[in-house]
Symmetry: C2
Subunit: 205 residues, 2 copies
């Protein structure tokens, strides 16, 4: 294992500045649509200075994806800890919706990547993410078997939660173009709708 040299304070600060600026630009234009000039300008640094901190454009992008992957998937890990099935899933839905409101750049970063075939994170999807989803699908199946949850396909339930919540980040311009909301006010209506949607679907009769 190669040892990383510990970073000075100014190095840490510039690294963070670059990653934040890069998240801005990558999430809006995708990997190929983003230029180092744009990132440099957004970060307030020169282009060669960017490449002093990161060896390449791809290295910046990869660093973002790897750093954010865990955070992005994290809420799913907490499903099944308390044990009130419908409430847990509804809480997960609302948490995911909050993340679309508060971290839309992260959502779009992944959306760009996945729509274009996930060339850089396919291994993560087919490995750790797949395992986690299958594990939670088992939890949900257990709840259904115990009669605590209506009978639904666990995988497609999870897909539907991902899609309905991330839609408000990934397709933000379309949502805003149609609703013309004041700020983020429409997220309250979305929360109410989604809570009802999943509560009615999942509550056993």
């Amino acid at each position: 294992m190669k040892m990383e040299r510990p970073k000075t304070r100014i190095q840490q600060k510039n690294t963070r500045t670059i990653l934040d600026a890069a998240l801005d630009v990558f999430s809006q234009h995708g990997f190929r649509g983003t230029t180092l000039d744009q990132i440099a300008q957004a970060a307030g640094l020169s282009k060669p200075n960017l490449l002093y901190y990161f060896p390449s454009k791809e290295a910046i992008h990869d660093a973002l994806l790897m750093e954010l992957m865990d955070t992005w998937v994290d809420p799913l890990r907490h499903i099944g800890e308390d044990g009130h099935p419908v409430e847990e899933i509804v809480a997960y839905v609302l948490r995911k919706l909050e993340m679309s409101r508060d971290y839309p750049r992260e959502s779009r970063l992944f959306a760009n990547e996945i729509v274009q075939g996930a060339p850089r994170i396919l291994d993560q999807i087919e490995g750790p993410l797949r395992d986690l989803v299958n594990e939670k699908a088992e939890v949900i199946r257990g709840w259904i078997a115990a009669g605590e949850l209506a009978e639904v396909d666990p995988h497609h339930l999870i897909f539907s939660i991902w899609s309905t919540t991330q839609h408000y980040a990934d397709f933000d311009v379309q949502v805003r173009g149609i609703l013309r909301p004041e700020g983020d006010a429409h997220f309250n209506d979305a929360a109410q709708f989604l809570e009802a949607l999943y509560r009615r679907t999942l509550t056993p009769r």
Copy 2:
């Protein structure tokens, strides 16, 4: 109004070939990620020959967006024609899911465009699409007022249908990476799940 010269048979054929090849490439890599070389190779033509039929790369992309926009939105227009509210909406959901299965390239073309801020179709979204959605929202509100549909927010209902169904095209690699389905077999499970989801939600008590 400028008259367009009618196209010869070979011109029509090449134009179609180019647009189909361009849909392949644009839907996978986005506008900036696509090169004329890729389109030319996919179409079996030379790069200058491409530009004999279209004046620029952007012209090819625009032609695709404009041509497919109507087709893509079309199923929404038919809502409210028969008058059995729950059945109509469920039929719309299943029709949209079929389109994700049979026309994933079209779905991803728009997904790429909208995730990146819809620079080329924002007018279409804020104009005709917005009007159509608002019109259908009124239809749905009427059904709710008549007690034929459970009380839900019509706009967020439509957004949820778009997101859940298009997810299977736009996030196809993620879905397949997790489910490892045989061909398109998982679309049947998705259809069953989504039909139950909307039937339970929309049927009045």
